[in-house]
Structure formats: C-alpha cells, structure tokens
C-alpha cells in the first residue's frame, strides 16, 4: 500500500490534468464498492452502517486517475472527483448541501489544473441553471456534458427503432422531464423526425415556452404537468427527469412502447406497469481508444455489461480533452440544438467514442452482443444479488429495493 500511495502522490504532483469528471454514487452499494477498492483486498470491507456514517463526512476529492485514448492516437489524462453526495440525500431538501459539495468538487478540480470539467449526474442538474454558483474558474472550463448525453439518447432511440422495424416518422414521442436541459435537447433533436410530441414536466411555464419553440417549426406538440397523462398515447418514451430515486410510474403505457430511461439515478420505478414495453438505458457511450483507471476501478466506476462504457455527460469532457477543445461546450439549460449535438457527435466519433451497445437491467437488448462476462443472454451484473427487475411483466427495469441497480457512478444524466 505504501508503494502505491507513493506512486500516486508522485503522479499527483507531476502530471498535467487535461480533464476532470465530477460525479457521485447513486446507491449505497456503489459507494460500498468504491470504498472497498480504496481499502484494498487485504482489509475487511466496511460494514454498511459504517459506510453510511463515514461517507457523508468525506470532503470532495479525487478518487482515481482516468486516462483515455483516441483512435487517432491522442491521449488525455484526467481525474474522477467524487462529491460524496450521500446516495439517500439527492432530494430537493438537501439541495444547498449538495450544491456546496459540487462547489467543493469544482474547486478541487480547479486546484488540480484541470482544463475542462464534466459535471456528472446530479452535479450538472444542480448547477445547470446556476453556473454562477461555481467557484471562480480561472483557466478551467466547466461543461454539463448534456450535449453528448442527448446525442447518445437520440442515437439510441433511432437504433432501437431500426432494430425493431419501427417507423420513427409515424411515432408519438413522450418526453418526461421535458424542460430539463437533456429533455429539451432531446425534444429539439427528435421533434422534426416524429409525428407528434408530448411533453411532460412540472413547470408549466417552461413547458409552454418549449412548446412554442417546437411549434414554430411546425411540430405537433402537447404538454402536461401530469406525468401519466400521455402514457397510453406514446409509443416512444424518453425518461429524463431529475429524480432522487427510481420512482417514476408512467401509468398505463401503450403495449409495445419503447422506453429509454436516461436518468441518473434511473427514473423508472420497478413498480411501473409497462406491460409489453421494451426498456433500455439511454445516454451511454463507449470508448474504443482505451480507458484506464488508477487505482483500477474498471467495472466499479463504470458498471455496465460492456467494457469502457461511460455516461455521455462525462464522455463529453473526455472528448473535448482529446480534441484539445478546453471549453464550456454545454452550459445552462435549453441551449442544446441539433447543430450542437451534431458537432459534439462528430468530435466524439473522431476519437472513437460511440453509442454504447444498448442494454437494460436484464441484459443487452441487441441480439448477438457479448457481455463483459461473455454471455449473450442477459447479464446479471457482477454484484451478488444484482436486481434485474424480472418481476411480473416488467422488462428491463432495475430493482432499487436491493440497491443493486445498474451502477454508473462516473456520471450520468
């Protein structure tokens, strides 16, 4: 241990940091696994009660180094910084404490000299409308990463439609969480290619504004603040709400609907009645030019059934670093346009960052794809007792009651 610490300490002083990724754990199980890696195999894992006692006191700091490679030979060095937001404190009641943690993580990133910083999960949700709450930024650019998240959601929807032989142009699209940065970005990108758009969100004023923007382009749009109102009418659903836990009940959804859960934490409740619907996780990309962690957090920080899969919001920071564009590509709310999505897709693809193979809690949704564990028939996750949401007619919804949801603490959106 002493040697590895010494090595880390030395690297900490001599390496330049191109990018930083700010994230948090979405479940206590994920937090436990991160702490277990940090403690090392020779030490007894911390009991659950100790983890819940200790984690909230840890100030934001780097957990590991992240190196990413490009298919054209570029390399970028970064850090994963955890804000250590307790997984059970994502609700609005803790917003000020959590913003303080994100600010602390941002200050940490600035101190490391990171040139571009991606804000993952609630980090971006907390800040996207309040960029002025970040510390004075010097030479560090902050991006929410939402543009690449939107790109991968849209690509995923199109890919699933193609796989299932659906005609996108005849589809009715429902976006839950439509007025958020990701939701509105998806609306702008997909509205021109579907028949009808249904927007659901809590804030009616923002809904009206978004409806007007889309209608100006001749799109047929309806809005509702009731999350379940449109469920039966939609055959495509994007869940992009900011929820502290998987609690979304869509109501009676249309049979054979296609549902993209793009939340972090996941949106859909395992109690959602999605008879016949197909669920897949959206907003994920895959690095094909190499991704390493030091210490080795592979499969812990990016816990997906396929290698080198990371949430789009964090990949945006990596892509910008590989491109040498240290800029605040995604900021604020409602600024994501088709043109910006295209630009970000192009940057990512140039460096071998593509849409990840599609999967849900039951496993891959594309036939013939080998999982990380080599199986093709549904992955069961690596954690003991991984909840996979097989109950009743639910297809592909993770079970949060076991706290063993799909873990992707490196970020989210």
């Amino acid at each position: 241990m002493g040697d590895s610490v010494t090595r880390l300490a030395r690297r900490g002083r001599t390496s330049e940091v191109d990018f930083a990724l700010i994230g948090h754990q979405e479940s206590w199980r994920a937090a436990a696994e991160v702490l277990a890696v940090l403690r090392g195999p020779q030490r007894r894992p911390l009991p659950d009660d100790e983890i819940k006692d200790i984690l909230p006191w840890i100030p934001p700091r780097a957990v590991c180094r992240v190196n990413v490679g490009s298919i054209v030979g570029a390399k970028a060095r970064g850090l994963y910084i955890d804000s250590f937001i307790p997984p059970d404190r994502l609700e609005a009641a803790y917003v000020h404490e959590n913003i303080a943690r994100v600010r602390g993580a941002a200050a940490y990133a600035i101190n490391t000299g990171a040139k571009v910083v991606s804000l993952g999960g609630f980090s971006s949700i907390l800040i996207e409308g309040n960029f002025d709450q970040l510390p004075e930024r010097h030479d560090t650019a902050f991006t929410t990463g939402n543009t690449l998240t939107v790109a991968f959601i849209v690509q995923g929807i199109k890919k699933m439609c193609a796989l299932e032989g659906r005609n996108l142009r005849r589809s009715t699209l429902l976006i839950v969480g439509a007025t958020g940065d990701v939701g509105s970005g998806c609306a702008h990108c997909l509205a021109p290619v579907v028949k009808r758009v249904l927007l659901s969100a809590r804030n009616v004023e923002r809904l009206r504004k978004l409806r007007a923007e889309l209608q100006a382009h001749g799109v047929q749009v309806e809005i509702a603040t009731d999350r379940q109102r449109f469920s039966a009418e939609a055959d495509l659903v994007i869940c992009a709400a900011s929820l502290a836990s998987p609690s979304l009940l869509l109501g009676q959804i249309a049979p054979h609907a296609l549902v993209c859960d793009a939340g972090y934490p996941k949106n859909l409740s395992p109690r959602a009645e999605l008879l016949g619907a197909t669920v897949f996780f959206g907003g994920l990309g895959q690095v094909t030019g190499g991704l390493t962690f030091a210490p080795d957090f592979h499969g812990i920080l990016n816990r997906h059934p396929f290698p080198d899969v990371v949430h789009g919001c964090l990949l945006e920071g990596m892509a910008l670093a590989l491109e040498g564009r240290f800029e605040a590509f995604s900021q604020g709310r409602g600024c994501i346009t088709q043109e910006r999505v295209k630009e970000m897709e192009t940057i990512a693809a140039r460096h071998g960052i593509y849409l990840a193979p599609l999967y849900n809690a039951d496993g891959p949704v594309e036939d013939g794809l080998p999982c990380r564990n080599g199986r093709e028939d549904g992955w069961q996750g690596q954690a003991q007792g991984q909840g996979v949401g097989h109950a009743g007619n639910l297809r592909g919804i993770a079970d949060p009651d076991t706290e063993l949801r799909r873990l992707s603490p490196t970020g989210s959106c």
Binding site: M1, G2, S4, V5, T6, L8, A9, R10, G12, R13, L35, L38, R39, G40, R43, L46, P47, E50, D53, I54, P56, W57, I58, P59, R61, A62, V63, C64, R65, L79, F84, P86, R89, Y94, E97, A100, R101, G104, Y108
Partner: protein, 252 residues
C-alpha cells in the same frame, strides 16, 4: 470548521446539565487528558528546539494547553463533577509514545505533524461539535478552546508548508508513516464502540453509547475529526486522492 453535512447532530441544545452530568464528566475527562498530553508534548518539544523563539513558542503552547485543561476541569466543578484525567490510559499513552519517538529523533517537523495536524484535527473538530450542543458556559468553553486550537494549526501550517516545499515526496512519506502510527490509534479511540476494553479514562462504563443523550454521537465525532484531518492535509498540499486512501484504510 463547518462540516459539509451534519449527519447526526441535532440543532437542539442539551438543556439539562445535571441529568447528564456523568456524560459531561467523561467528555471533560477525555478533553482534560488530551490537553494535558498536549502540554507534555509541547514541553518535550521545547527541549529539542534550537531556536530560542521556538523554545518560547513551545513553552507558551504548553502553558496554553494546561490552561485549557484547567478550564475544562473548572467546567466540571460547575456541574458538580470531579473531572479525572489519565495520560497513561492505553490510547493516550500510545499517542504520547508516538510523539516521544519524534522527540527522540529530534524530529521537530514530525512533532508538529503529530501534534498540530493529527491531534489538533481531532481536538478542533470534536470540541467544535461539543461546543454546539453543550449548554451554557460548558458549550462556550469548548467552542472557545476549539477556536484557540485552530489558531495553533494555522501557526504550524506555514512551517509545514515551507518544509513540504523543500521536498514534497519526502514530506508526504513522513506524514504517511506518522499517519499509520498516530491515526490508527486515533481511529481506534474514535471507533463507534470500544471493542478492545475500557479506555481507562471514562469513570464507569464507556460513554460512547450515552452520547446520544447529549445530542452527540461517536460516529459524528469521528466523522468530523476525519473531515478536519483531510481538510488540513489538503491545506498542506498533499494530493486528495492519496489522503482519501489513507483515511479509508484506517480501522473502524
């Protein structure tokens, strides 16, 4: 220093001193013991200082710590309890021995790291927490002494930062070696339960399970102390990813 997240402490102050006097008695006994040990450490430090100014500083600090011990003892008398102390109690003795090893090596910087970075982090954080919930003058005394201890840390930080600037690798290795020794003992002291027997300071059975009665908890004191320690190491410039490893590998 404010914790990022107050996980356990109730904002409600404990209003009844007499009912909880035995609990405050043990809290004060730990505080007095810590202050007396600090006084002994500074006295020892004065013996290896070459610079007359440093000698005077160390002796002044020693006197200040004795004053803190006296103030805590006086608070005990106000609530009608005798506050004992035991610098030879098992955990405290190990901490003293660690400091004396630095003295034996005439390691001035090592002494500062043990006393100012490690022991004072514990003192500042735990006194601050107690100061928030203890009623009347008891709370004020804890809060005042926490602030004074924090000043010590600030004083030492400039010396330690300058030392680290000379050779960061060597400095960090030294801190890590002392961390293994001192912080392991402190972590055992701060564990939620004393699993390896009586601490030899509490006047009867272990006070930790009773801390909830005065709006405190052992977990909160440990969390606040480790947070203070991490922030202090941050101020020294030691990489946060390294200190995270150090702290997460401590015993619980």
């Amino acid at each position: 220093m404010e914790p990022l997240l107050d996980v356990k402490a109730s904002p409600m102050k404990c209003t009844s001193l007499s009912a909880n006097a035995p609990i405050w008695q043990d809290i004060l006994a730990q505080a007095v013991t810590g202050e007396l040990l600090a006084a002994m450490n500074y006295s020892s430090l004065s013996e290896i200082c070459d610079d007359p100014g440093e000698v005077a500083d160390a002796l002044e600090h020693a006197q200040g710590e004795r004053g803190h011990a006296a103030a805590f003892a006086a608070e005990g008398r106000k609530i009608g309890v005798e506050v004992s102390n035991n610098v030879d109690a098992k955990h405290w003795k190990r901490l003293r021995d660690a400091f004396l090893r630095c003295i034996a090596g005439r390691d001035f910087i090592g002494c500062l790291i043990v006393q100012e970075i490690m022991l004072e982090s514990f003192a500042v954080a735990s006194y601050s927490r107690v100061g928030r919930v203890a009623p009347g003058s008891l709370g004020k005394t804890f809060a005042r002494i926490a602030a004074e201890e924090e000043d010590h840390v600030d004083h030492a930080m400039s010396i330690l930062r300058a030392e680290r600037a000379l050779d960061a690798q060597r400095f960090d290795d030294k801190v890590y070696q002392l961390h293994l020794d001192v912080m392991t003992t402190l972590a055992q002291m701060l564990a939620k339960e004393c699993k390896d027997g009586h601490c030899e300071v509490c006047h009867a059975s272990c006070v930790k399970p009773l801390l909830f009665d005065v709006s405190l908890s052992a977990a909160e004191l440990r969390g606040a102390s480790l947070q203070q320690y991490l922030k202090t190491l941050d101020m020294l410039g030691i990489p946060g990813e390294v200190t995270l490893l150090w702290v997460t590998q401590l015993p619980v």
